[in-house]
């Protein structure tokens, strides 16, 4: 889907509950922290935008250099955030929808059980 991407799920109180570095590009040493910074800062934009639209998928809401942030805001205001570098809106949108479905399922099964998290992780990696 994208050469560099960082996927993160942020709970409604801005705590990251799931993080995954996805994508094929070789990562720089400080990539993880940069990605976190960019995504963290993008939360402000999400906050602004989320209440102005009924759409769940907010594409390309923020960018830092060539990194673009797309967000999917669930009804419970959990935010699925993807940092990516190439535009593939349809792909990202469908990715978000699938993850959202998974997220709901896993939530039912209590996130925290390692097996489910693992399954979750695998499916997310697979989708990329």
């Amino acid at each position: 889907m994208a050469t560099t991407a960082s996927f993160i799920i942020v709970s409604r109180n801005d705590i990251p509950i799931y993080e995954a570095e996805v994508g094929s590009a070789t990562k720089r040493e400080d990539a993880a922290q940069l990605h976190q910074f960019v995504l963290h800062a993008a939360l402000d934009i999400v906050q602004d935008l989320a209440w102005t639209t009924s759409a769940m998928f907010l594409k390309n809401i923020d960018r830092f250099n060539d990194l673009v942030v797309s967000v999917y805001v669930t009804a419970g205001h959990t935010r699925l955030m993807l940092l990516h570098d190439s535009r593939n809106d349809d792909g990202i949108k469908s990715f978000f929808q699938e993850v959202h479905e998974l997220y709901i399922k896993v939530n039912f099964l209590q996130l925290g059980c390692s097996v489910h998290v693992l399954v979750f992780h695998l499916s997310i990696v697979e989708k990329n």
Partner: protein
């Protein structure tokens, strides 16, 4: 809102103002420097007209008034575009200077987010931003593409001291020093000139000056010439009420007031003339129109004389005179021209001015922004040449957006201004961050992010202080963040930078935050760790850090081991469940108080209540604390000087309060003297160790109180990487006193165990077993030595010992030394030691009492032999408790126990099973088949001896030694069967009839299974410890009637094959294995599932009646003449001690199929329930299996019939035999099984008393009073004789 009163408006009114170029002689400067001011500085205050009212007209004759005006005075040498490098350098200076000012704030804590939002903008925004931005804007001035910086007039200044002032005036303007703008044709060299003569009053009267002035007026014209007298103050001490230079230069010295007035007059004149000039230009332009192109020189594209330049100049002048409409009109006029000509810089400049004009007109915001963006982008497109203009343009744009509260957009513009120049972008990013903070609603995350970006750039340009400032501000956003990488980044870098500045305390504080960064990569962890250690080394001192997270302490793993009455030989022993020990201790220790009145009650009363209710430990004895340290990192860390933090408080009443009440206990605190970790009162152990990546380690720490009092474990401290002292306090949960159940308190939560009452020293026994093996093969027999030591001088008495698994570990005999193992087990001809173990005090209920003369004191240890026998292959925890009492009755504790714990893993070795079947031809003789399988994984064994236990049985080989195992050893996985003859010795003694000839006169209870040549002596199995272990095996096997003569126990002795021994165990000690099989009976009922060497088997039937059938096995008969009659004789033996009546019921075999029994007579045969009808009792159950399995064999044999009586009854005296004649008739040749008879027997008790007794016996034994047995197979072959 009036656009002119906004910050941008003010800025524009200040910056876009007419420039007056100043040309002066050196003597003019000299005169001014007396006041500490340059000429321009001196005049500057008078170039600001904030309160004038000048009427003006626009081009369309609309009148308006100018209220504020400003002139910029610039030396001719400064009228050029500043060098980029110089500008940068200047910028850097400004920033560095600003950074140094803020030194004091650096070390303070970052403000709270809520405070941030509440405080006003001016408080937050560093004041130097404004100054810096101005500098940035000025860096783009005097560009040739825009004219508002071009001088509109020229001020020629000559001092009255100069020689030939008139000539000097002329020289000044003609020199080549004139700025390039004038020389290269970018602006009109025919500039308005004004002549000023400066006269210093200190240099004489003004007469000379006046003379020169009149000369000047005649030369240059009256309006253009003025005289300025300065330094008229005589004593140079005059104070100015209102120092106009204050804002320009702080050290302004007094200047004559008169001069100032003159100056004002002068500048007013200048402005007036300039106005005229503008009108001239305007007129010039209108007059000239478009039809005067011949004035355009061939130089640059747009010279001052080109139409576009003229329009631009007009526009700028209109702008400067606040006629924005006109300016805008002119700008838009040329904008398209420039665009068409692709003169991008000029186009951008015009667009920029248009945007500003729109802004000041407060007209269409959209237009303003559009123009601004257009200008900005165009400048950016120009690359480096447009960079400074882009910056200026961006700053104006930002101001414009800020004015409209569009902070978010402003921030993004700041972000766009960022160039490759790091310092520049650092400042811009920082300003951007503030924009995010000020936006509504505040965007704190963006604020933090941009601060971090900015700080990063500051650091790269060595502006460490600025970097810290930004990160510190960012911390207020990121302080509590759960975004791990962000938190680590910020703390790590700010820590590093503090260290650069030498603020090591702060550096450490931040570095500590990132140490436990388990989510980071290994490289990062190494980096963090290395830097952390480096900072500490630089600091050059050790720090005490509460809450150091390396290593992580798992408080739930905290375990406190202390010894009151209970003492432990090792830590594993202490970690065994208390209940387990207690159940073992039950027989050993005096019973619980209150249960009975005995001497022990006295003791409980003597023991103070507080001692009973709290943890007790003994002075001089260590309390062990075990706590788990975890290294969360992937890199190894080293920990040193790990020790406990303790408080030992001494209570004065300690000795008197033998009847301490609870209230006293509570008051204790007040009377205590607290001794903190004093080496005089406690000894603390220190441990150094290192933890590998992700490693967990249980660390054992000890504290040894040296005196009585109350000891409290406060926490644990350690030194990390040799520099940082970390400590961890065990949260002191108030000791909840529960109702003590019993004298000893059960272990509650570990936190309750942190307070101890330290009592006087009492003797303590220490013990261990020498070289206890962790692993052993099943059957392994080994002597061990238990060593007991009493370090104190007080003696102890009444030693008792109990072992949890006597099957595995038995207590040896002190009199038999172990040195000659295994010789001590050998059987010697003269060995009469069978009584030896009888001398030993047999442990009653498993409790072994040491002889009373045993005393353990001082250095002399007590060595006591033990025997280990690995009975069954499994993991066995062995528990040993040694109980002892104090000789000194005055001590607080009357007794103590020593608890030892060992784990033994028993590996499988030989699996032995026995199958016993009666000898078909002999009474009281049995065939024994021993199946041995080597189930070990590596060891080969050599079987050496089989013994039957007890005197009742004799055993002998059926094969020669060499025939048994050719290789003489059993390799791994190998199975082998041995055959023996087992003979009841008792029977052979009793049986006087001589029917059973003693074929084995030398029959004994031991059989050698290895060749004599090996010279391995036979082992005496009747000797301790083998007999002891055998007893344990028997008792292990359930409660049996030990007097049951019909079972036999076997012991198989084996040795490991010698060749194998070197490979695995290098011990030279000979090893011996004994395998015990108990209660073997005739025919296995149950498959030997439970144990390898303990199968439940039977030798003889439980029936007291046994018999044999005697008669021919083969007979020739001519069936053509008659049927065949065959006589048989049945010998019946009654082995019981009462008279038995026996009836033999024969049944003809009509209903049965005569089967040739399979030759597998040895095999256990599944009981055929069809034959063994349920009415038959237990005896049948034992014998039913004798029946041949009813495999249908198609043999066309005719049946036979029993002739003679179908039932015969006999009475048998106790222990006697009788013969009963039997006969069968056979009608055709064939092989017949003559087992179709049943023996019913009934034991007759002599009297009713016996009967009654019998009834009282267990049901199993009741049944033995009567029973019936099916016949044995007896095969008879009858052949047709010729």
């Amino acid at each position: 809102m009036d656009p002119a009163s906004t910050p941008l408006g003010k800025m524009l009114l200040e910056e876009i103002t007419p420039v007056v170029m100043v040309l002066r002689t050196d003597s003019v400067e000299e005169a001014c420097v007396k006041n500490g001011l340059s000429f321009v500085e001196m005049l500057s205050p008078f170039c600001n007209f904030s309160n004038i009212d000048v009427p003006l007209r626009t081009s369309s004759d609309q009148p308006y008034r100018l209220r504020k005006f400003k002139l910029r005075l610039v030396y001719e040498s400064d009228v050029h575009q500043p060098n980029v490098e110089v500008a940068k350098e200047r910028l850097k200076q400004v920033i560095t200077k600003a950074g140094e000012k803020e030194n004091s704030e650096l070390s303070s804590d970052p403000p709270q987010v809520s405070n941030l939002l509440d405080s006003s903008k001016s408080e937050l925004l560093p004041s130097w931003f404004e100054y810096l931005n101005k500098e940035l804007i000025r860096a783009a001035s005097f560009s040739e593409h825009e004219t508002f910086d071009h001088p509109v007039a020229c001020l020629l200044v000559v001092s009255s001291m100069d020689e030939q002032p008139i000539n000097r005036f002329v020289d000044l303007f003609n020199t080549n020093k004139l700025p390039s703008l004038l020389n290269d044709g970018a602006m009109d060299p025919k500039i308005l000139k004004h002549y000023l003569l400066v006269h210093d009053n200190h240099d004489g009267s003004s007469e000379k000056a006046l003379k020169i002035l009149s000369e000047m007026k005649s030369t240059f014209g009256t309006n253009e010439c003025h005289l300025l007298c300065i330094n008229s103050s005589q004593d140079a001490t005059m104070e100015h009420q209102d120092d106009p230079w204050a804002s320009y230069k702080n050290d302004a010295s007094p200047v004559q007031h008169l001069g100032c007035c003159l100056d004002v007059d002068d500048t007013s004149a200048v402005s007036a003339t300039r106005r005229g000039f503008r009108n001239q230009i305007k007129n010039l332009w209108w007059r000239k129109g478009k039809d005067d192109p011949n004035e355009m020189p061939s130089g640059s594209m747009y010279t001052f004389s080109s139409i576009e330049s003229q329009i631009r100049v007009l526009g700028d002048h209109a702008f400067m005179l606040h006629d924005y409409e006109l300016a805008l009109a002119n700008y838009s006029l040329i904008s398209t021209d420039y665009k068409l000509d692709k003169a991008w810089k000029r186009y951008a400049g015009v667009q920029e001015m248009m945007a500003l004009a729109y802004f000041l007109l407060d007209q269409s915001r959209k237009e303003a922004e559009y123009c601004m963006e257009n200008a900005f982008n165009t400048y950016l497109k120009l690359g480096s040449s447009g960079q400074q203009n882009a910056t200026r343009c961006g700053l104006w744009w930002i101001e414009m957006l800020k004015t409209r509260d569009q902070y978010k957009e402003a921030a993004s513009v700041y972000f766009r201004i960022c160039s490759e120049e790091l310092l520049h972008s650092a400042v811009m990013l920082e300003q951007a961050s503030y924009c995010y903070l000020f936006s509504k609603p505040p965007m704190l995350y963006k604020y933090g992010f941009h601060l971090v970006l900015s700080g990063d750039r500051y650091r790269k340009t060595d502006q460490v202080k600025h970097a810290i400032r930004t990160y510190r501000s960012a911390l207020s956003v990121y302080k509590e963040t759960t975004w791990s990488y962000i938190r680590d980044h910020v703390h790590f870098h700010i820590g590093q930078w503090y260290a650069l500045l030498g603020l090591h305390d702060l550096a450490v504080k931040h570095m500590l935050q990132v140490l436990a960064c388990s989510h980071q990569s290994k490289a990062t962890q190494e980096l963090f760790l290395r830097d952390f250690v480096q900072i500490f080394q630089e600091a050059g001192k050790t720090f005490e850090v509460p809450g150091l997270q390396l290593p992580v302490i798992d408080i739930s793993s905290l375990k406190v081991v202390f010894e009151d009455q209970r003492t432990y030989a090792s830590y594993p022993a202490a970690s065994v469940k208390e209940s387990l020990w207690r159940s073992l201790e039950e027989d050993l220790i005096p019973s619980l108080p209150g249960a009975r009145t005995n001497w022990l009650d006295v003791q409980t009363k003597l023991m103070p209540k507080r001692l009973r209710e709290s943890n007790v430990c003994v002075a001089g004895e260590a309390i062990k604390v075990v706590v788990e340290f975890t290294n969360p990192l992937q890199v190894p860390i080293s920990i040193s000087n790990v020790s406990l933090i303790c408080e030992l408080s001494q209570s004065e009443e300690d000795k008197s309060d033998t009847n301490a009440s609870t209230s006293e206990l509570e008051n204790d605190e007040d009377h205590q003297r607290v001794v903190m970790s004093d080496s005089a009162s406690v000894i603390l152990s220190e441990i150094d160790y290192s933890l590998g990546g992700g490693e967990k380690k249980l660390v054992e720490l000890t504290v040894t109180p040296k005196m009585e009092g109350t000891l409290k474990l406060v926490g644990v401290r350690w030194k990390f990487s040799g520099c940082v002292v970390g400590f961890y306090t065990f949260e002191s949960i108030l000791l909840v006193k529960k109702i003590a159940r019993g004298k000893r308190k059960a272990k509650q939560s570990p936190l309750n165990d942190l307070k101890f009452v330290v009592v006087k020293p009492v003797p303590k026994l220490e013990g261990h077993i020498h070289a206890f093996p962790e692993k052993a093969h099943a059957g392994h027999l080994q002597p061990l030595i238990l060593e007991l030591k009493n370090q104190s001088d007080c003696s102890i008495k009444n030693l008792k010992m109990k072992i949890s698994h006597p099957r595995f570990l038995s207590i040896g005999n002190k009199e038999v030394p172990h040195v000659d193992f295994p010789a001590c087990l050998e059987k010697r001809p003269d060995n009469k030691q069978s009584g030896t173990h009888a001398n030993l005090k047999k442990p009653s209920e498993g409790v072994f009492l040491f002889p009373e003369d045993v005393a353990i004191k001082g250095d002399k240890p007590l060595l006591w032999p033990l025997w280990l026998h690995a009975a069954v292959p499994e993991s066995v925890p062995l528990y040993i408790i040694i109980y002892y009492e104090m000789e000194d009755t005055s001590s607080v504790m009357k007794y103590r126990t020593l608890r030892l714990h060992y784990n033994l893993q028993v590996l499988p070795s030989l699996d032995v099973s026995f199958k016993i079947s009666p000898c078909p031809s002999r009474l009281q003789e049995f065939l024994v088949r021993m199946d041995v399988v080597n189930k070990s994984s590596a060891q080969s064994f050599q079987v050496s001896q089989l013994s039957s236990v007890g005197d009742n049985w004799g055993i002998s080989r059926l094969q020669t030694i060499d025939g048994i195992i050719p290789s003489q050893s059993l390799a791994v996985g190998q199975a082998f069967s041995f055959f023996f003859m087992l003979k009841s010795r008792r029977q052979s003694l009793v049986d006087a009839a001589g029917h059973v000839p003693d074929l084995f006169p030398d029959i004994g209870s031991d059989v050698r299974l290895c060749p004599e040549s090996l010279k391995e002596p036979l082992v005496n199995i009747t000797h301790s410890p083998l007999s002891d272990f055998h007893d344990s095996e028997r008792s292990q096997h359930g409660i049996r009637n030990q007097e049951d003569d019909n079972t036999v126990d076997f012991i198989l002795i084996s040795r490991p094959l010698k060749s194998d021994r070197n490979s695995e165990e290098a011990s030279d000690q000979p090893q011996l294995f004994s395998h015990h099989a108990c209660y073997c009976r005739q025919y296995s009922l149950l498959p030997s599932s439970n144990a390898d060497n303990l199968s439940e088997q039977k030798t003889a039937s439980t029936s007291p009646i046994s018999w044999t059938m005697n008669g021919p096995r083969t007979k020739y008969h001519n069936f053509s003449s008659s049927f065949c009659e065959i006589s048989l004789r049945m010998t019946i033996h009654n082995s019981s001690d009462v008279i038995a009546s026996i009836s033999i019921n024969t049944a003809d075999s009509a209903g049965q199929s005569d089967a040739l029994p399979s030759p597998r007579g040895w095999q256990p045969v599944v009981a055929d329930t069809k034959v063994a009808s349920p009415k038959v009792s237990v005896a049948v159950a034992g014998n039913s299996a004798e029946l041949p399995s009813s495999e249908p064999v198609a043999s066309p044999v005719s049946p036979f019939i029993w002739s003679g009586s179908s039932c015969s009854n006999v009475q048998l005296e106790p222990s006697s035999s009788t013969d009963v004649p039997m006969q069968i008739c056979v009608f055709s040749p064939g092989t017949y099984d003559l087992s179709s008879y049943v023996l019913n027997w009934n034991l007759r008790k002599d009297g009713g008393g016996n009967q009654l007794e019998a009834k009282e016996k267990k049901p199993e034994e009741m049944r033995k009073l009567w029973g019936s047995c099916s016949g044995y197979p007896y095969f008879l072959t009858v052949l047709q004789s010729v």
